[in-house]
């Protein structure tokens, strides 16, 4: 057993966990954050993607104790109260989900992808960058549309903020 302590969605949490506990299980079972899903359990599908220290990683391929001391953001930590995060809003608007199982991982991957491409995204880039996220409903078309739309909205918003700051 080890003491695991990190900041999850802005809140400091700690608890004891067996060293073999995967981060995804700690999030779901110890913290009740069941938005992060276990899809394939073989680190291929990306349903478990969360942000650890600002990077989108697969929480089923990482021990909870490895993340101790880190800052973790899950799908539950994206929205600002009742206001959806722009990527969540775009998935809703463009119907970027069918059954919804892969959606938390898709959205966490998408927010990371958009942050890494401040110059903007094109369809080919989005499709390549989604190679670690699998949608069993094969609803990729609208997922890609949603990510492209969110990337535009967020670029506009950050330009707006830059103007205000100037």
């Amino acid at each position: 057993m080890s003491d695991v302590s990190f900041v999850v969605n802005g809140k400091r949490v700690s608890g004891a966990a067996e060293d073999r506990t995967l981060l995804v299980h700690f999030l779901r079972e110890n913290l009740g954050l069941t938005g992060t899903h276990v899809g394939c359990d073989t680190s291929q599908c990306g349903a478990c993607v969360v942000h650890v220290d600002g990077k989108a990683v697969k929480s089923c391929s990482m021990l909870a104790v490895q993340a101790s001391g880190s800052t973790v953001v899950t799908i539950e930590g994206l929205a600002n109260g009742a206001d959806l995060h722009p990527v969540q809003a775009a998935f809703k608007e463009h119907h970027g989900l069918q059954c919804g199982f892969c959606t938390p991982g898709m959205i966490m991957t998408a927010t990371d992808m958009i942050a890494r491409h401040p110059e903007g995204l094109d369809e080919a880039t989005v499709r390549t960058e989604l190679e670690g996220n699998i949608c069993r409903c094969t609803g990729y078309h609208n997922i890609v549309k949603a990510i492209l739309a969110a990337s535009k909205t967020m670029a506009k918003a950050s330009k707006g903020r830059a103007k205000q700051a100037a």
Partner: protein
């Protein structure tokens, strides 16, 4: 996953001590080891986490000499500006490993120590005549990769860095398995002051190897056309459900051609 004891190493010296406990294994990005433990293909008693050791992280380029810390992630290798100038083929290779989430965690030292027969880095290191630096000694890539998942590393020996001289020209071309994204065949070509070397991953029965046929054809003329009609022997190549040895042999020539064209572009 079986029960395991986790230790976070503060330094290489600390890790070298910790790895002596029980049946311990070194943990870096964990992108191979953790999935292997989940399926119980690996069951170490202890894990020694190297990923937070600062001295193992980062890319240094001084003149033509490139040194990459063992705990540098694929993401950091792919995006290092100095490396992209000194040896763009190497940075590009890193950007082709796994998927974005895997590249954030997986490290060059972990990949090299694991020596998966379809891993990308071994091809680059062998073709570049790289040196693998451990906490005990320096090993040339030619002596380091000894077989399928086998290396010259002794028990408890820790890779600290890899280093190589940036070549005049180089490129990596990879024919991916569309599902796993691993190389069915990957070919790294390099042209430096010691001539042309060509290393192949994904195809060899014994893991990464240098293709003498391709090297001979390119030695006189480093051009894609020099490989017209060159036959690669299927002897000692892998046959599995993805590709036969003959198909892999054919792909080696095709990928080598593309790599030479890219290196000359």
């Amino acid at each position: 996953m079986y029960s395991v004891n986790y230790h976070r190493a503060a330094s290489v010296a600390d890790a070298a001590k910790l790895v002596k406990s029980g049946d311990a294994k070194l943990l870096s990005g964990g992108m191979t080891l953790i999935p292997a433990m989940k399926t119980r293909l690996a069951a170490p008693s202890d894990l020694v986490d190297l990923s937070r050791i600062k001295e193992l992280q980062g890319v240094k380029v001084s003149g033509k000499t490139v040194t990459i810390g063992a705990a540098t992630t694929h993401y950091d290798v792919a995006n290092d500006e100095k490396l992209r100038k000194a040896c763009p083929a190497f940075a590009h290779l890193a950007s082709l490993i796994g998927d974005p989430a895997v590249r954030y965690k997986g490290t060059i030292g972990g990949s090299v120590a694991n020596n998966d027969p379809a891993a990308d880095y071994p091809a680059a290191l062998l073709a570049l005549g790289a040196t693998i630096v451990t906490n005990k000694r320096q090993i040339s890539a030619a002596k380091f990769f000894t077989g399928l998942f086998e290396t010259a590393l002794k028990d408890g020996e820790i890779i600290t860095a890899v280093s190589f001289t940036a070549p005049a020209k180089a490129a990596y071309e990879k024919f991916r398995n569309p599902a796993s994204r691993y190389a069915i065949v990957g070919v790294f070509v390099a042209k430096g002051k010691d001539g042309v070397s060509v290393a192949v991953t994904g195809a060899g029965d014994d893991g990464v190897f240098r293709s003498k046929e391709i090297e001979a054809a390119l030695a006189k003329n480093f051009a894609a056309s020099a490989l017209d009609g060159v036959k690669v022997s299927a002897k000692n190549l892998m046959t599995d459900l993805h590709a036969s040895a003959d198909y892999r042999a054919s792909l080696i020539a095709v990928m080598a051609k593309r790599a030479v064209a890219a290196a000359n572009a």
